[in-house]
Amino acid sequence: MSEALARVPALAAQHLLLAMAALALAVALALPLGVVAARRPAVGRVVLGIASLVQTVPSLALLALFYPILLWIGGVPALGFLPALLALTLYALLPIVRNVATGLTGLDPAVREAADGIGMTAGQKLRWVEAPLVLPVAMAGVRTAAVWTIGAATLSTTVGQPSLGDLIFAGLQTQAWALVLAGCLGAAGLALGVDALLAVAEAGAARRRPTWTGAALGLLALATLAASAPLWSSSERRVVIGAKNFSEQYILARLIGDRLVRAGYRVDYRDGLGSAVAFGAVAGGEIDAYVDYAGTIWSGEMKRTDVPPRAEQVRAIADWAKRTRGVTLLGALGFENAYAFAMRPGGAVRTLDDLARAAPRLRLGADLEFLDRPEWAAVRRAYGLRFAGATPYSPTFMYRALESGRADVISAFSSDGRIAAERLTVLTDPKRAMPGYDAILLLSPTAATDPRLVAALRPLAGRISVEAMREANYMVDRDAGKVSPEAAARWLATRTGL
């Protein structure tokens, strides 16, 4: 736990840097937009309409949308700082544009008439009259935007930009509430601190104390600069290891990372990547290595619906990934993490055929992506499944839902330690509707050309049994006596003799 908490300062620095960069960019864009919106009401309606529309997009989705957009544009990193920066900037625009525009349109007409009457040019009027009078309202907008941005920046974790959200997502996943709390308090602390400094700057402007304003803004700039210090000190290349948003992924990422550290590499983690984002990230070189699952690539990336034997499937994926995306499949780790329908113990339903008959009276609890995945479509087609209801949960809460009876069937994972621990019934798939889900280690085009790195990771192939993986997962997922993914990774290394 403490080793995870030790990441707080570094993550807070990244978080602050991202949020302040987005805020600065938003201010730079919003000020002229606000002026234009006030001068030309027709343009203003369009600008404010778009900015409001952006606000209605959930921030998580807004961040995720920039990934395909940047991918489509090409030539720029589609993951990490850039998409997070752009999404947060868009998100921060509305309060600033709106306040600047309403501030300007709400100015006393007599003051404008006086400014015109004594012969101010449009520029002088803006600089000496309109800007200082609108400043308090504009600053209120900037403060709102700052707090929103710092809050929403926690979601940048999902597009591979480290932030305090790393702690929140990892903690939520592994039910390590101290981590969640550390992430939340860290983000709240940053928001309060930045808001307080902006409040001082605002008060300084309102009370004609430029030294207050200068000191507050200077301190903010200094803090942001200090937060960016790690970026310019470490010019050496770091190996970036990706992980999707569940315990097994965190553990395997640490297992890979530990081996690379022992081989003399410096390692960074990108935790909590969305499933759709991860493969693109390794192909684009935003991450160097991560573990994915054969069936996910098979149906999600390759759009295949046939179900070949597992070994054949892995070979076909290796060939396809190398040929079309330059990604190297270093090897299968030895265990499978398949989607498996699981039910409470002691029921009569044993197979998916049985389930199809009982389904109209049952409720399905699925993980967050399952209902949109092609595997679900395939199973539904093959067995004619029709449930009374289907609810997506985050994986941890999915098991809780099954336990409490809110769900009767869940889309479990075969390597999940909770299946054995809670003696759940895993339904068989007699029609073989679902493809194999061998865990496979994928390397980016650059990483694959580094023989030392390949040599350090090759021993992982075929070494991890499903029993070992379940046990390691359960160490992190269980309610009592849970350990951190780092500790579970060390345990797994010892257990498998790595």
């Binding site: 006086a114 015109d116 009457g117 004594i118 012969g119 101010m120 040019t121 009259v129």
Partner: protein, 255 residues
């Protein structure tokens, strides 16, 4: 005798329409240097609109305005306006600036150092110099309008335009200020055009009264001529109000 004299101002066939209606309808007036002209008329008679064509706050649809023979439409508007003092009913002091900064703003625009000019301007409009550091919100209505006049005259314009300048003030302040402005007009040798709906104010302070109705100038007389019955029926109807009031007051005082 003033050291200098304000410019001549001429309106030539000035017309301004809003929608279909003419707010100002083909007005031609020549104002000589040093005149104090009152534009009088009911609300909507076009007097304010006509005044504002002189400093281009309103651009006429037809006709032109000449300042010392030069068309005001030439060159940028801000350059014209810096040569013209402008005072209006709502004053429009800059609320974020002190009295001194407000008064000095025209000098700042002209790039002239303020020096002791602000103090001199406050003296001119009979405001205590101690007010220089106050903010506009701390002043009374009369004080604010005095600051407005000081600001309008700070860069020594020859022409002073006033749009209902004392309309929002109480009668005592109004009379004091109007007299003060008239004496400034004389001392500085200004050309002054003042819009007012108050015929008594016009008769008492102006050297010439222009009566407007429905966008047209219907009478153009000296105060003495108006009081003697010149200018036509509509102008005389306006003169009749203060005259009747004065007669009733005199009768009450005599009784």
């Amino acid at each position: 005798m003033p050291a200098r004299t304000g410019p001549a101002l001429a309106f030539e066939g000035v017309t301004k329409r809003y929608g279909g209606a003419a707010a100002v309808d083909d007005v031609a007036v020549r104002i000589a240097p040093g005149e104090f002209v009152a534009l009088v008329g009911a609300s909507g008679s076009g007097k304010s609109t006509l005044l504002k064509t002189a400093n281009r706050l309103v651009v006429p649809d037809a006709g032109r305005v000449l300042l010392d023979g030069a068309d005001v439409a030439e060159g940028p508007a801000w350059r014209l306006r810096r040569r013209i003092g402008y005072v209006f009913q709502n004053v429009g002091l800059f609320p974020h600036l002190t009295v001194a900064e407000n008064v000095a703003m025209p000098l700042r625009l002209a790039g002239v150092p303020a020096g002791d000019r602000v103090a001199a301007m406050l003296d001119l409009v009979e405001l205590p110099r101690a007010l220089a550091t106050r903010m506009p919100a701390e002043l009374s209505g009369g004080q604010r309008q005095r600051v407005g006049v000081a600001r309008a005259l700070a860069s020594e314009p020859g022409l002073l335009l006033m749009d209902e300048p004392f309309g929002a003030l109480d009668p005592v302040t109004r009379e004091t200020l109007a007299s003060a402005v008239r004496s400034l007009h004389d001392r500085l040798g200004l050309t002054t055009v003042m819009v007012t709906h108050d015929m008594a104010e016009a008769l008492l302070h102006a050297t010439r009264v222009l009566v407007m109705q429905s966008g047209r100038a219907i009478a153009d007389e000296t105060p003495a001529a108006l009081l003697a019955g010149a200018g036509g029926a509509a102008a005389q109807a306006l003169v009749a109000v203060p005259r009747a009031q004065a007669e009733r007051l005199a009768a009450m005082a005599g009784a």
